[in-house]
Structures are given as C-alpha cells and as structure tokens.
C-alpha cells in the first residue's frame, strides 16, 4: 500500500464508504481498474454497485475514502469536469436526448471542444463541420439509417447503441457503463456486447452489471459486491467457482 502512482492502474478507489443517514450502502471498497481492460462490477440487487458507480462518476460524494484517476485525487472534482479529463459515464436508464435527432445527439457531445458552446449569437451551421465525424460514430454503431430520426423513435437496443456512440464522441480514456445490457432482448445483447468489446480495444471500460453470465466472456476482471462490500475479485473462471459467490447468486438464480 504505497502512495506512488501506478501507471498500470487508471482508476482506483481507496476505502470508499458511503452512508445514507446511518445506512452503510458502500463499505471500505478498494477497487483498482487496470488500463486497457474491461472490468465488471457485479452483484445482486442492493449490493451497492450503482452507488459505487455513482461515487466513481462523482454523481454522489463519498462519506469517506478517496478516488484516484491516473494517480490524481478526483474525490472532490465536479462531475462535468471529470468528463473533460477523459472519464465518461453512461446511465442505467438509457441516456439519450429524446427530441434531438440521432445526429444531433452525437453532435452535442462533439461540439464542446469548438469552444463556442456559449455562443448564442452564432448560427447552428457553424456545427455542420462536425457532421462527418458524427456520422462516422453513428456508422460505427450501425445506426446510419437512423441518423435523421429523433432519438425517441429508436427501439431500446438502438438507444443504447446511440448512447455508446455519444460517449465515444468524447473519445474517453475510461468508459463507465451502467448496466449497458439491462432490459435487452437476446439478439440485442449479443450485438451490444460485441460493440463494447470493439470499443474497448483502445480504452478502459468499467461496467456495472446485474448478471454474472452476461459479463462472463466480456470482462477481464470481475468484482463481486455484496451488501456494500467486495466479496470476490478476479477473472470469471476464478470468481464463478468461489463458493461465496455461488451462494450469493443461487439465491437470486442468475448465475
């Protein structure tokens, strides 16, 4: 346990604790996400995985503990600012801008670096130069035929794909995905899992999932949470044979 930054660890939580009015939702969680890996955070309902996720993405403030990103303490950083540092999250309930078109959804994510986002006197046509890049991203998630449609018209699985395209628009170093496969049909799960695998080729992914089997072949490391504490950690082969994990999952019948 030394304080020296480890180049291999891109995101780290140290003794992360969150209490809600006396109820301890997350207790002394130590988590290390290695650069370039797909790391899954799983656990049954109420295990605190969403809380850990919201703490890491700064949407909640920890009661105690520390969060380090590339060796820098980001425990007190604002959520909008970590996005600029390369840490971008998605949401459990699909996070699109429903009344904007698919193209505009992606373009909103692309326009910030132009530095004109406060320019209310400038024409929207100044953003048209971003269309080529936006359409490339839309192509990458197979949404090209939908580019002109409003996001509200997309079926659920495609909304998740759009969300990934929007997240990718920021070219994040770390993508944090909150249950990216939840509520999807079988055909969508395979497509989206392949997509996650593809986009993770040159970046780090931390995802929260409910279901162990879904992340089995997708992730390099799996951390299992139960009642706010880490129960087990390691690759699927190790974690799935852990008797405590098996017990935790037998109850819910998901493993």
């Amino acid at each position: 346990m030394n304080a020296a930054p480890n180049d291999d660890i891109i995101l780290e939580a140290r003794n992360l604790t969150k209490e809600f009015k006396g109820f301890v939702a997350v207790k002394e969680v130590n988590l290390q996400v290695r650069r370039g890996t797909i790391h899954a955070l799983i656990g049954p309902n109420g295990a605190g995985k969403s809380t850990v996720f919201n703490l890491l993405t700064k949407f909640l403030t920890p009661t105690r503990g520390q969060i380090l990103y590339k060796g820098r303490d980001i425990t007190r950083t604002k959520p909008a600012d970590i996005a600029l540092m390369g840490l971008v999250r998605s949401f459990q309930i699909s996070a699109v801008f429903p009344h904007l078109s698919v193209l505009e959804n992606v373009r909103v994510a692309l326009q910030r670096p132009l530095g004109t986002s406060f320019h209310f006197w400038k024409s929207e046509s100044s953003l048209y130069d971003l269309h080529d890049r936006a359409l490339e991203l839309i192509e990458a998630v197979n949404l090209t035929p939908w580019a002109g449609h409003t996001a509200a018209e997309l079926p659920y699985g495609r909304k998740r794909a759009l969300e990934i395209a929007t997240t990718l628009a920021l070219d994040p170093e770390v993508m944090l995905l909150d249950e990216p496969l939840a509520g999807m049909g079988h055909e969508d799960i395979e497509g989206t899992a392949a997509l996650i695998k593809r986009v993770a080729a040159d970046r780090t992914v931390l995802m929260v999932e409910h279901n162990l089997s879904v992340v089995a072949h997708l992730s390099d490391t799996i951390t299992v949470l139960r009642r706010g504490e880490i129960l087990a950690e390691g690759p699927y082969e190790v974690v799935s044979k852990n008797p405590q994990v098996m017990e935790a999952y037998m109850g819910t019948g998901h493993a």
Partner: protein
C-alpha cells in the same frame, strides 16, 4: 460520408424555405396592420408577445419554469419611465437602461435559483419577484399606487417623433423583431443545442462535460433582459409604469400566454399573447367577467390542444408529412 452529410444539410434547409415564406407574409401583415387595426392595441400585443417569447426561451428551451418574470418586466418599465421622465433621457437610452437592469436582476435571481429544480425553482423565483413587488410599492421613485405617469415618448435617436402613432408602432415592431430574431438565433445556435440537451436530459449533459448551471444562468439572464426590453417598451408606449406590471398575476399571465400558444415553439408565445390581449380588450367592453372567460378558454385549450395552438398545429402537420 460526405454525401450523407450533404443530404443532412439539404434536409435541414428544405423546410427553411417554407418558414421564410411564412415569415415574409407575416412581416407584410405586421407592416400593414396599423392601417386596419388600432395601433395602441397592436403595440400592446407586440410588447406582450416579446415578453412571452422571452419567457418561452426559458421554459421551452431550457426547461426552467420561472414564476417571477413580472419582476423583470415591471422593474424595466419603472427604469424606462423614470430615466426618460425624470432624467430626461432619450427613449433609446431609457430602453437600454431598462434592459440592462432587468438583465442584472436576472443574474441575481438566477444565481440564487438556478441550482434548484422544478417546483422549487418556480417558488424561489416567485418569492424573489414578490420582494421586488414590495420594493416597487415602497420605494419613493415608483410613486406607489400611482405609478409613474405622463412619461414623454420623446424623439428616437433625436430624429423620429414617437408621439406619432405610426412612428411609435414601427419602432415597437422593430424592437419586437430584433428581440424575436435574437431568440430565434439563440435557439438555433451552438448554445441552443446545449440548452436543448440540458432540457432533454440534464444528468447526461453533465456527463458529457457541460457545467449545466452556467448554461442555464446565461439563458436566464438573456430571458430576463428581453423581458425587460418588453417592459421598458410598454412603459414608453403607454407613457406609464405601474404596479400592475410587477404583480404575480403578470407572471401568471405570461405563463398562460406561452402555454396557450405552445411552449417550445418559436411562434406559439406570439399567438398566445395576441389571443390573450385581444380577449382582454374585447371582453373589457362587455359585462362578462374577464378572468372567468379567459380561465374557461385556458381549460378548454389545455384539454383540446395539449401542445398549445401552434404546437398542436405543427404536430398535426408533421404527422401528415410522415
């Protein structure tokens, strides 16, 4: 890829030609209107239309319901009336002062209220505007219940005599068009895109790196300034600034106009303001109780056209287009 992006550009331009045609026809109508209708009535419509458009910029495009916009409208009226009458300022200087003061008030209101969401935001703006109302009642320069009366219209830029009804009308029309153009541009700007994203899904906008509070604050200041421009103009037109314009009922009226016309549509608030002002002035000469009639119309409109008059119209047209 380039072909696809070009086609998107064309798709964006297609309906723009139709919009430009409609705008040209409306502009001609507005230019000809004072020869058919009473100019003072038209100017009242235009002042309230600008006020409602300013309000709509917040509710319709940033998703913020302010229940205190009368504070900006009414205070600006006092500033314009006082600077022009007591200090002898030219009307354009009075209007500029009114707009700036309203904008500064918007900044203060915004800094206090912007972190709150939904009904809490509305309540804070209401509370602040009530404070402004009591200040307007007590401060000596507003002349309490009497208001500031007999404001001279003066010479615009030292050239145009605003006491001529037609000159005054075209000045008000120009002010309205400038305000409307600014709102149109804001909505169709890089800033407007972010604003819409915040309205649609604020946490997502945050996760994309936007400090949403700042964007909302800029929108709030813009909206307050334009509401102030509308209030100042009204004071010059009617040569009067009174307590009526700072009451909470006035804040309610602008909500009503915007909802009737269609919030989130650019032209809805104009239609809503026209409708409410017309009804008020026609009903005033009858023995019918004005608030009851307007209330009934509002209920019917909300039940029949949930998106407001213009919103419903556009929805039906786009449905047919599909």
């Amino acid at each position: 890829m380039t072909v696809a992006s070009n086609s998107t550009r064309v798709a964006v331009r297609g309906p723009a030609i139709g919009t430009a045609l409609i705008a040209a026809v409306l502009l001609l109508l507005a230019l000809a209107a004072p020869f058919v209708l009473y100019p003072v009535f038209l100017m009242k419509v235009l002042c309230f239309a600008l006020f409602a458009c300013a309000f709509n910029l917040l509710i319709g495009f940033a998703g913020l319901l302010s229940f205190g916009h009368a504070a900006f409208f009414g205070s600006a009226a006092y500033i314009a009336a006082h600077t022009v009458k007591e200090w002898g300022w030219a009307p354009e200087a009075g209007l500029l002062a009114a707009t700036v003061v309203a904008g500064l008030m918007g900044l203060v209101f915004g800094l206090i209220a912007i972190r709150r969401q939904g009904i809490y935001f509305a309540m804070i703006t209401l509370a602040l505007s009530q404070m402004v109302f009591f200040l307007a009642l007590q401060l000596p320069f507003t002349h309490g219940e009497d208001g500031i009366q007999g404001v001279p219209r003066g010479l615009l830029f030292g050239l145009f005599d605003l006491s001529q009804p037609l000159t005054m009308y075209y000045t008000v029309l120009a002010i309205f068009l400038a305000g409307f153009a600014l709102i149109w541009r804001t909505v169709h700007s890089p800033f407007g895109q972010v604003l819409k994203a915040i309205r649609e899904n604020e946490p997502r906008a945050v996760s994309l790196g936007y400090r949403t509070d700042r964007y909302k604050l800029v929108a709030f200041v813009l909206s307050a300034s334009l509401a102030g421009l509308a209030g100042g103009t009204k004071a010059i037109v009617f040569q009067l600034a009174s307590l009526t314009d700072v009451t909470w009922q006035m804040s309610g009226e602008v909500v009503l106009m915007t909802l009737l016309g269609g919030m989130g549509t650019l032209f809805g608030p104009v239609v809503g303001a026209g409708l409410v002002v017309t009804l008020e002035s026609y009903l005033a000469s009858t023995s019918l109780p004005v608030p009851v009639v307007i209330g009934c119309i509002f209920v019917v409109c909300v039940l029949v056209f949930r998106r407001g008059i213009v919103g419903e119209l556009m929805h039906r047209l786009s449905k047919r287009g599909h």
